[in-house]
Each structure stands twice: as C-alpha cells, then as structure tokens.
Amino acid sequence: MATTAVEQPHPHSGAHARATGVWSWITTVDHKRIGILYGVTAFFFFLLGGLEALLMRWQLGAPDNTFVSPDVYNQLFTMHGTTMIFLGVMPLSAMFFNFMIPLQIGARDVAFPRLNAFSYWVFLVGGLLLNSSFLLNAAPNAGWFGYANLTSKQFSPGLNVDFWVIGLQILGVASLAAAVNFFVTIVNLRCHGMRMMRMPMFVWMSLITQVLLLLAFPVITVALILLMVDRFFGTSFFIPAGGGDPVLWQHLFWIFGHPEVYILILPAFGIISEILPVFSRKPLFGYAAMVFSGALIAFLGFGVWSHHMFATGMGPVADTVFGLATMLIAIPTGVKIFNWIGTVWGGSLRLKTPMYFALGFIAMFIIGGLSGIMHSVPPADLQQTDTYFVVAHFHYVLFGGSVLALLGGAYYWFPKMFGRVLGEGLGKLHFWLTFIGMNLTFFPMHFLGLNGMPRRVYTYPEGLGFELWNRIETAGSLVLGASFLVFIYNIIRSRHHIAPADPWEGGTLEWSIPSPPQEFNFPALPTVYSRDPLWEQRRTHGAAPEPTRVSGQGIHLPNPSFWPIVTALGIAVFFVGFLLGVNLWVILAGGGITALGIFSWAFEPAG
C-alpha cells in the first residue's frame, strides 16, 4: 500500500537527501522508516486476517455449509485470532509507537535504533513463518489460546501446533525488544521541558503499554517453552496422564492474555486522546485522571486473568474475587469515556474523518464495555463464555475499539508520515461502511450467543434459530471488507494531495516539522513549556509559518546496519530447526548466526 507513496522521491527533498533503494530499507535504523515497515507489513497481515474472517463468515452464512472443511475452518479461526492480535493490531500500534513517540517527545530517534530494526525484522520473520504453515496445509488449528491438552502431541500430532508455538515464541522476542526500547526512549529521550505530566496522552498510554508488554510477555514465553518441551522432548507439564495439569496452561496463558487485551487497547486510548482535542479545538479533559485511569486499568489488568476461566469451576471464593476485580476495571474505563465526552463538550467540533473514527470509537467501545460488565458476573458468564456473546463483546472492544482508533490514527497521522492527505469524501465513505459493516457483523452475535450458539464451531444445524442472524452477519462482513477496499483506494489516490506540515492545527510537536519529517526530525531539539506547545505558540505568537526543509549538516545520526536483520534471521533459523524434527544442525547453525549477529552488532560503530 504505502510503498507507492513512499518510494517516490519527495518533492521537498532537501540537502540532507535520503538514501533510497531496497538496501537502504534493509539496513535502516531510522524510526520513521521502521514505523512505515511495521505499518505496511502489519496492514498486509491485517488484510490476511480479514480474508480469513471473510472465509469463516461465508462458511457460516448457511447451516450445514460445506464451503470449507472442518479442519480448514479450525485453521482459519486460529490464524484469524493469532494474526489479528500479534500480526495486525499490535504491530499497527507499533507503527505509531515508532513513528510518533520520538516526534511527540521531541527526540531524533528511539533510544536503541538498531534494536528497533531488530524488533521489526524478528516480527517479520515470525509472521512469515507462522503464515508459511498455510503452504503445507498445516496452519495452527488449536485456537489462538491453544488450550492444553489438545495441543499435546497425542491429540495434535501434526506440525500445526508446532508452527503456532514457534511463531509466537519468535514474535515474543520482537515485542519484548521493542518494549524495552520504547520504555527507555520515553523515559530518557524527552526534550527539554517535556515533563512526564506534559507528555502527549498517546505517549503516556504507549509507556503504560510497554510496561504491560515487559511484564506479560515473559509469562507467555515461559508457557510456550513448557509447551515446546512437552511437544518436542516428551515432558508432561500440561499432560494430565503424565501428572501435568492443563489448567496450569490456562492460568499462564491468561496471566499473559488479559494484560494483552490492554496492550491492544491502551494505544488506541492514546490515539483517541490525541484526535479528540485537536478536532474539538480544546484541551483534553482531565489529563491527570486520564493518565491515572490508564495506569490503573493496566494494574488491575494483571489481577483479573481468571475471569476467562469461570467455567473451569474454581470455587465460589475465586469466582467472587475475580468477578469483582473485573467489575472494578469498569470504573477507570468509565472515567476515560466520560473524560472523552468532556473533551468534546463545549468544543467546536471539526467533523473530519479522524474525528468520525474517534467518535465512532467512543460509541462502539461503550457497547463492548457494557457487555464486558455482563461477563464479569460469574454465574452469567457460565452461560455466555465460549459463545458468540463473547465474540460480540471482544469484537466491539477490539474492532470497535482498537481498529477504529487505529484507522482514526491512520487518517490523522497519514499526512505526517507520508506527506500526503487522505481524501475526506472517501474517508467518510470508509467510515460509514466500516461503522455499518461492523454493527451488522458483530451486533447479531450477541443474540446468537445468548440463544445458544457456541464459538469455534465450523457449522451449525438447521432448526436452532441461528440461520437469519448468521446470514445478516455474513452480509455485514462483506460491507466491512468493502470498506477496506475504499481505504486502500484512498491511500492510492492520496499520491496527488501534498500535505502541509500541520493540516489539522495540532498542538503536539510532530506538527511543528515538515511532512514527512526529515531524517533527523528536528533541526534543533525543541523546548516545551506546556502540554500543547503549538497551541501555546499560536496563542502567544499567532500561527507559525510553514517549516522549511533544512540541510541538517552536522546533525549526528546513527549508522545503518545489517546486523539486526542477520540476527533476526539467525533466530528464525534456530527455531525452524525445531520444526524440522528437532534438527540439531539447523538449530546450532541458527544459534551461530544469532551469536555472530549480536557480536558484530556490538562491535560495530553505532554512528
């Protein structure tokens, strides 16, 4: 998608001309280029996950359908979930982390530029490896949650689960490396005057997200290692016949899995909190409450994992504790929603496309939040869990929430990232198709779930009353699919519409520099005195003139490096060795390449 807009020479190219060509992208350590790489790759995977969803919806469009076989269906729903979470929404957030965090805090790059490149390449090889399983008709088929002991060698003898374990293990490396990087970047690289309580809300929510990543991913890593040794070396951590416990997997998975939900939604909260003030022409309502509620959501998010497990029969005390803790999360989440409405209230709303998506986000997220409260009631959850009611719930928070916010963010920051403006008319068409499509697709799932349709079934018989709603959902999913075609067309068409530095009259630092930014971001590192420095400047000195591109002579930037991609490939080879029947030579070769990469990286002059 975006490559069409990117690989053209920029009309404003200054003296500090960018290196071009494939090699320059492979060796790049520029956070903006890495952000674009993340975006393009994640959008591709996102479309793939969407295609998987459309195939599932087509299968479920009629009872007893035979459009896809049961095994293919199970591969589709497993890969849809895994793809959307790990290869779609998370890296789309990472695109904005990469591109926007340094710009918003007034920095030249992230703290560890080569580590940043490494994160991307590891993410790419992990995603490709996971999806290459389709070529062998052995895509993962045990669900994105991979409940033991279905994942044991006995019940899943094929390569499917191996691909899943190894793909996720690789992706975890990428997420952890990126989390360290952004955490340090935000803590250490803020420009003068950018105190913590002056940071843009997107930076705040990103910071909290990195903490969640740092604490949650080690848990899934450990769980996956245990599962790996169960599968490859015959241990029985999760195999009851061997003294293991499948419930242990559920605990480990959800200790990761629930914070993961907030990893997916907190960046979205941040994006919304950027868009609403700019298009309401007034500051964010209750900045401090927004920060603390975000932190509180993240903190509580570590104490509610067992609400995914009420049906396992944990006993009334555990049910009570996890049920009530879950309800507590509604309070800071409610504060956020009210503060967003408070931001809109009294404003002068410019209803541009990013604002459409932001307002749509609030409207849809409320629905997802309310069905979440219904799930926090353990006895009620005993009916709802593993039904389409849950599917409805998390699509309202993940699609109505995360994805709408990411799309809003895409419309909002596209001019900054690519120097082009997306069309307003097409943007609004895109919004309405998405909005109508998602409600047609996901709202009837509430009824289906409450009326007895379980999740993860490849078909359903006639006579249970599921036909009508499923048909409506399938129609809705086609509308949703079409909305993304409009988006892609809008991106292609944007080539002709050059963006100014500040198309929206924004308040944060990224709008003070040319679009797209030059390699060094800021000719001189800025100093800020308030939360919305550009608005402050506008009030005191009037509108700033369009920033010009400068030569950037003498600005110190890190050197490009190919060791990050070498190291990433080494890790891929290492893990592929396990897929090849635990081939020791391949594993050793991969370990060797990784070691060589890290060693050479360490002794390479950084710039």
Binding site: P70, D71, Y73, Y147, N149, L150, F155, P240, A241, P246, S280, K282, P283, G286, Y287, A288, A311, T312, G313, P316, M327, A330, F338, N339, I341, V344, W345, G346, L349, L351, I362, A363, I366, I367, L370, S371, I373, M374, V377, P378, P379, A380, L382, Q383, T385, D386, I436, N439, P444, N451, G452, P454, R455, R456, V457, Y458, G463, L464, G465, F466
Partner: protein, 357 residues
C-alpha cells in the same frame, strides 16, 4: 409535515441506531431451542434472573452515555460564526461524581452476583440423582450409578428431582452445556467437576460442547430429556432390562444378517449394545437403544434410516476426522446393519414429549 434539512440530516444519522433497536426486538421473538433466555431449570433460572438485572443496568447506562455523546456531537459541531471552543482542562467535582456513580451501580450488580455465586456453588438440594458425564472426542457418555445404566448423547432426567452431574473427560477438555436447564462447566481429566440442576418441566433440551476440543467440536451435541417422574421410571426400567442386545425375530432375515455383521465386522470392537454392565474400555459410544434414540452422530443427525445408512456408508463424509473409520461396507451390508440397529429399540420418547421436535 416539512422537516427542516438540518433535522432531516440528524434523523438520518440516527437511522443506524434505530436499526439496532429493531434488531434487538426481533431477537427476542424467535424460537431458539438452545437459548439461555428461556430457563426451564432452577440453575439456569438463577443465572437468567441475575443476567437480566445486569442487562437493565447496562441498557440504562447505554442510553444515557450514548445519548450524551450524540447530543454533544450535534450541539457542538463547528458552525460558521459559531462560538469558539471553551478552553477548560477538567472539572474535579464532575470527575469525582462520574467515578462514584459507576462504582455505585457496580455495587448494585455485585451484591446479587456474589449471592448467586455462593448459592449455585452449594451442593444440590434434596436427594439428587447422580449422573456421571464423560466427554469424549466428539460425543458425551452418561452413566447412572444408581441404576447401573450407561448411555450416550441422550440424558434422561426426572422433572422435579435435582440432578447432580459428576463430570470428567476421557481425552481433551470439553465443556458440558445445557443452556435451558443449567449453564456450562468444563471437564478435565482425572478430576470431577460438578454442575447441578432441577428440571422444572418436561421437554427435550438441546446442548452442545462449548470448549473447543478438536476437529469435530462443531458436531458434539447432546439432548437432555426431562421426563415426568413416572415416564423417567419407565425409561429406567426398560434400560435396566437392556443387559443384552435386543434379540432379533427369527423371520427378520435382513436384521439377522445385520446382527452377524455387527458381531463380525469392526462394530463390536468399539460399541456395546447393552446399557447394563457394558464391557469396559470400548472407545465408541454405547449403542444400547440406538434404534429408539432421537439422534445419531452425537446429537447431530435425526435418527432416520436414511441418516443411519449415510453414516455407515462413510462416517468421514458427514463428520470428517471422527474416530470411526470408513468401513467400506457394501450397500447390502448397510441395509442389513440399519435393519439390525433399528431393532435395538428399548425405550422411546415418552408420548407426552413425542410431539416436541
């Protein structure tokens, strides 16, 4: 009536919302045999009551918050010559109020929740009928220790007597779910999980496995038949008499041929034909009373001769990946086996329920 263009635009924007409301209304009208919203058992009723109170709170919050949001969007749109945005940063009092209100609502949800949690966690009241539930890939086995009866896919229970389910799995996790009578509970290997309910009225209740359990998770269904006490006793009496396969009439040569096939082909290696003391260790569902059951293929297909024949022709066709292989039977063999299985009719649906689908 003339509607001003601005108002018409506003109404137009409300259309999707109205559409949603209509969808909700339509959702309650139809008939769903597997619904959680029409409880016919005490456990399901307790859950339903609690759920409904939560729904009302949620609906109130939904209308209020979405209403305020829509109002703000319409009222504060930028208009030429309109007022500037007011530059306020927050309002401490407001923020405290809208923290306290949701917290209070949650207390009103939490109190009945905790009460129901502890009530439903207590052991079943009275003198319960114990039924062992065993999940298999991809069918449910039911055992009645009190009567020494084993059966599959169709569970009979008496109306009015509490039923105490002791549940486990023979392989991977499953989740036993009877939406109208109780709720669901996951089953594990090596430990019993419990669920109880009392059926309030007679009926045939659908359910299906709710925990993903492999390739045929989608076709792992079952029925719970709640029968009047007398009808239940009759069922028990007939099943208790099934300590051997039902004998075939001498004149029925087709069924006799089927009987011979059943004993000599692979069938007998996996399936028992008696409900009392079946040989242990058989991997297939118990087939005692297969001729009198409502469904075959784990509650998925109506028990007709045509469906039985279709199943025997190649079980992998309807249920890909099922553990029963394609036996490569000839059409003559299939006819004979169908005739024989049809003779294995011990108990049928009580007449009072026969009208129910």
């Amino acid at each position: 009536m003339r509607i001003p263009p601005a108002a018409r635009r506003r109404l137009g924007r409300l259309a999707p919302l109205l559409g949603l409301v209509l969808l909700v209304l339509a959702g309650c009208a139809e008939n769903y045999p597997q619904t959680t919203l029409a409880p016919k058992g005490d456990f399901a009723r307790a859950v339903d009551t609690l759920f409904r109170s939560t729904v009302w709170w949620a609906a109130g919050v939904f209308v209020l918050v979405e209403g305020v949001l829509l109002f703000a969007i319409f009222k504060y749109r930028e208009r030429p010559g309109g007022p500037e945005a007011s530059q306020f940063h927050g309002n401490a009092l407001l923020e405290v109020i809208w923290t306290i209100i949701p917290a209070t609502i949650l207390v009103f949800i939490a109190i009945p929740t905790v009460r129901t949690i502890f009530r439903t966690a207590e052991p079943p009241p009275g003198d319960p009928l114990v039924i062992e539930v065993i999940g298999h890939q991809w069918w449910w086995e039911f055992r009645y220790p009190e009567f020494n009866i084993t059966t599959a896919s169709e569970m009979y229970v008496p109306v009015g007597r509490p039923v105490d389910l002791r549940m486990r799995t023979a392989d991977v996790l499953h989740s036993f779910w009877i939406p109208q009578l109780a709720a669901k509970r996951d089953v594990f290997y090596g430990r019993d999980n419990r669920l109880w309910f009392t059926a309030e009225e007679a009926g045939v209740f659908s359910g299906q496995c709710a925990e993903f359990c492999g390739i045929q998770h989608g076709r792992m269904a079952h029925r719970v038949i709640a029968a009047a006490p007398a009808d239940f006793d009759a069922w028990v009496a007939r099943m208790s008499a099934a300590s051997a396969p039902v004998p075939v009439f001498d004149g029925d040569s087709l069924a006799l041929a089927g009987q011979a096939l059943f004993a000599t082909r692979a069938c007998v290696g996996c399936h028992a034909l008696r409900a009392v003391d079946p040989p242990p260790g058989l991997v297939g569902p118990n087939l005692a009373n297969i001729g009198g059951r409502l469904t075959i293929a784990a509650g998925s297909l109506p028990n007709t001769d045509a469906n039985l024949a279709r199943w025997l022709r190649n079980p992998q066709e309807y249920k890909q990946g099922v553990l029963m292989p394609n036996l490569g039977l000839s059409e003559d063999d299939i006819r004979a086996l169908v005739a024989y299985l049809r003779t294995q009719r011990v108990a049928t649906l009580p007449p009072a329920l026969a009208a129910t689908p």
